[in-house]
Symmetry: C2
Subunit: 149 residues, 2 copies
DNA sequence: TGCCTTGGGTTCCCTTTTGGAACTTACTGG
DNA sequence: CCAGTAAGTTCCAAAAGGGAACCCAAGGCA
């Protein structure tokens, strides 16, 4: 199996990773969520080579995760913005942040705090069951595909 | 910046990805969550080359995400099991499944259904705020590091 | 006018990682 | 003795990544 055959898999994890499972891709998106939009900003922040960054941005644009738009006519300048599809990756990043903080801790830096943008209230993201409102314990959950009918 | 320098970053996303951000790694873990434990099972299921699989398993073991244990003495045979640290990656996979199903849909396969292992009740995983119990809207959330003091 | 700077890339070249396939080791069963 | 199985390792070619230099369009300025 080659990496670029993943997009045709029936597994949604595989299809998701065919878009964001590349080295650096989720870090590019992390920076987009931080508000960075320009090539130079991203290059500076990530420290990856320009052509890998260029490649990732093209891929994310092609996948509809980022949108490339011109913000200046002369000289022509572009920026990259998250689309709705891109913004919906936030739960993946939050899950990763919480796992990283819990299991790859660094004593010398404080953890992230999530806040409501408007009220400023602290938010503690957890995975719950929408139906019961109870937190989800991985060990109690089974996932399966069920044909309807 | 090189990939293996990521583990020293202050950003928890970067540290998390230094463990699971490699090509194929999250797919190996997906299969572990599905209950696969043996090299041959994983190789068959993933279709990746044996030495990439071998490499990923070693990395995950070194990171404490999987545990390699002997299940037969003669001939010596091993299996790989998720540790607690590994099981805590479940929210990442669920987030990825839901994103994949929503944004890279395939009409020909049914979506996953999550169920309580014991009661069989359907579970609908959503990211909520533990404090208020409300669902989290990415656009309303800001993340920042706050020094205590 | 010529020269420097900035943003956003592309090109070139070399090193790592993948992909594919064959080979190895240690044992079991017939 | 031969075939088969589980779990890897080794070898080689192809693809991706890393580093640095180069390109282009426009703006500023001396």
């Amino acid at each position: 199996m080659r990496w670029n055959e993943l997009q045709n898999e029936t597994c949604p994890v595989a299809r998701g990773l065919s878009v964001v499972g590349d080295r650096w891709t989720l870090l590019v998106l992390r920076d987009c969520f931080r508000g960075l939009r320009r090539f130079e900003e991203l290059h500076e922040s990530l420290g990856i080579t320009r052509h890998v960054l260029s490649d990732r941005l093209k891929g994310l644009e092609a996948a509809g995760v980022l949108e490339r738009r011109q913000y200046s006519d002369a000289p022509p300048r572009h920026e990259y913005r998250l689309t709705d599809k891109g913004r919906d990756l936030y739960p993946v990043l939050i899950a990763l942040i919480r796992w990283g903080e819990t299991h790859q801790p660094r004593a010398d830096v404080p953890d992230f705090t999530f806040r409501d943008r408007h009220t400023g209230a602290v938010i503690e993201p957890v995975l719950t069951d929408r139906r019961t409102g109870r937190e989800i314990d991985p060990r109690q959950v089974s996932a399966s595909r069920e044909d309807t009918g």
